[in-house]
Amino acid sequence: MKKNNHKDWTSVLQERLQDATLPVEDGWAAGPLAAGETPGSGPAFPARPGRGGFPGLPVLPWALAGVAAVLAAVLILRPAHPARSVSVREGVLLAQRVDLLPEAIPPARPLRSGSRPSTPSPAGPAYPETPSSGDSSVLPSSDVTPPSSAGLTGESPADPVQTEVRPDEPGNGEGAPRSLEELTQDDFPEEPAAGTRQRRPLSLRLQVGSSGGAGVVSPGRMSTNGVMYDSDPNGNYSSAGYLHSDGSVISWHSEGQDAQFQYDPVTHTLYQPVATRFSETRTPVLPVSFGVSAALPMTRRLTLSAGLAYTQRPGTGVITDAEPGRLPTVVTWQHAALHYLGIPVDLHCYINPDNRLRFWVGGGLQAEKCIHATGAEMLSEPVLFSANLQAGADFRLLRGVRIYLSPALMHYLNRSSYITTWDERPLFSLRAGLSFDLK
């Protein structure tokens, strides 16, 4: 009896003090917590040291915000009056209405072919008349400009516009002058007028890749059911393992006082060992991602894209707790696959935007939300944010169809609720896909 009392007094102390309470006379009302020092509404997601953090907002507002941002960008950046080419009929009407000032017209170039003499009249217009034109005017395509161009002022419907015909100009026939009615759309260049932007096609991208990077986790094999035995009366633990941040087990002690725990410096929380009885099986896993996005050309070089991306990340460990209130408790390690739906927003800057093989650099942000967990409990995980830096190239296969490849470095800005390694460090990511121009 005496021996038992001697042996167990610390156990009695543990039992007595485990859930002990002391009266807090000051209470809530007198404490500083009630005086407005409480944090603001909503959870403030604690950032890891050296990292930024984001509030754990639900995914829907962010999704709506992303869609709204893209729509706003479309509305703002889209030309209010898209540049358009002058149609044949408009060109005819225009040509019939304009009056070219003589001094604004460049001197006629010498004819390279044909026998028509060029006899400019000092008092007349600085372009030759075409004898056979009658009351129809013949315009070289290079001289037809929209009304906003300099040199076209006033109107003189009674004074038909005539000019020389340059057989070698594109759009003209072999030396045969054509009337206005005979001109085609090709005779009017599609150069945008000053002050307007050319419409660029919205493109649709279908993408496959590994957007989560080559995270390496160590699912291991448990030789037991993952149970870490309860402590002995002295607080020692019979078995424990420790999972390092890179997924490797850095210590394993079958008994004694060497159990280690994950320590969260932000919440000052000791987490239970995340694994027991590991074998050193390290399984590289590649998250797989599929996505579709719409890319909006903002300028000749800049393209903004946004879309949806589905990512599956395998090999994630999850611990469970069967004995609340003590530290540590029962832990298990499970294989899991986490399914994420994300909204990527990327900005690309093309280095050589007019080539068939184009190169770009860029960056982007992505918000992801775990929508399903296979082999693991579904946790109330915050929206995960990641930033990435990209470089890439695309190649035009067909008209309006391009294939692209883009390596990227990505970094998660906040932390998953699951025990993972892919959110720990900058990750390499590789994406490839097809891009279709939408007319």
């Binding site: 005496k2 038992n4 009392n5 001697h6 007094w9 610390t10 156990s11 009695v12 102390l13 007595r16 003090l17 859930d19 002990a20 309470t21 002391l22 009266p23 807090v24 000051d26 209470g27 809530w28 404490g31 917590l33 009630a34 020092e37 409480t38 944090p39 603001g40 909503g42 959870p43 403030a44 997601f45 604690p46 754990g56 402590s231 002295n234 607080g235 020692n236 006082q257 060497d258 159990a259 280690q260 725990f261 320590y263 969260d264 932000v266 919440t267 000052h268 929380t269 000791l270 239970q272 707790d321 004995e323 609340p324 209130g325 003590r326 530290l327 408790t329 109330s380 915050p382 609720s417």
Partner: protein, 192 residues
């Protein structure tokens, strides 16, 4: 109200829920803090810090991982208290050199403590006794014996060696046993 509902309401910024959580668990958190911090006012400060920290981190609370809400709050309190002690370096100065302790001078036999008598002692008195230990002893004893940390973990937290932690624990245990034996006696010893 269940813990999940309370946590959810607190996460949404419900002031009443925060008050409810505080009033439900502040006594338990204070008991933890008082084991580490002798001064009651300082311990109350730690209690407040614990709740502020907890409310800012509620999305990190998962019952399956963190245990009960009370246990989670207690762990936060433990680490804040240890941080406080470490910041003020109260216990480090009291720690003996690593050579002392088990390897050097063997400790005398631990005074016998009547576990049955301990069941009758009010919790406040037990906490006061633990709090009266020197801070170095107290911290290691609390962490190892009552809060389930290993010596390696304690060594990392306090910046000492595992050996020092083990020595401190044994000495603290010996001293506390002597105090308990002196104050509450030993039934078997007292019986003729």
């Amino acid at each position: 109200m269940d813990e999940k509902g309370l946590v959810r309401r607190c996460s949404a910024g419900d002031r009443d829920a925060k008050q409810e959580m505080y009033e439900t668990y502040s006594g338990r958190v204070l008991a933890v803090c008082r084991r580490y911090i002798r001064d009651r006012d300082r311990a109350l400060d730690i209690v407040h810090d614990t709740f502020l920290k907890a409310w800012a981190s509620l999305d990190r609370f998962h019952p399956w991982r963190s245990g009960s809400l009370g246990a989670w709050l207690s762990r936060i309190a433990v680490h804040l208290a240890v941080d406080e002690l470490r910041r003020e370096r109260h216990f480090v100065d009291e720690l003996p050199p690593p050579s002392a302790g088990m390897a050097g001078e063997p400790l005398p036999a631990e005074p016998p403590v009547d576990a049955g008598r301990l069941q009758q002692v009010p919790v406040e008195e037990l906490i006061d006794l633990i709090a009266s230990l020197p801070e170095g002893y107290r911290t290691v004893f609390n962490l190892f014996c009552l809060d389930g940390c290993s010596h390696r973990e304690i060594a990392q937290m306090l910046g000492i060696t595992e050996k020092t932690s083990q020595t401190q624990y044994l000495k603290a245990r010996h001293k506390l046993a002597a105090m308990l034996a002196a104050k509450y006696g030993n039934h078997e010893k007292e019986q003729p």
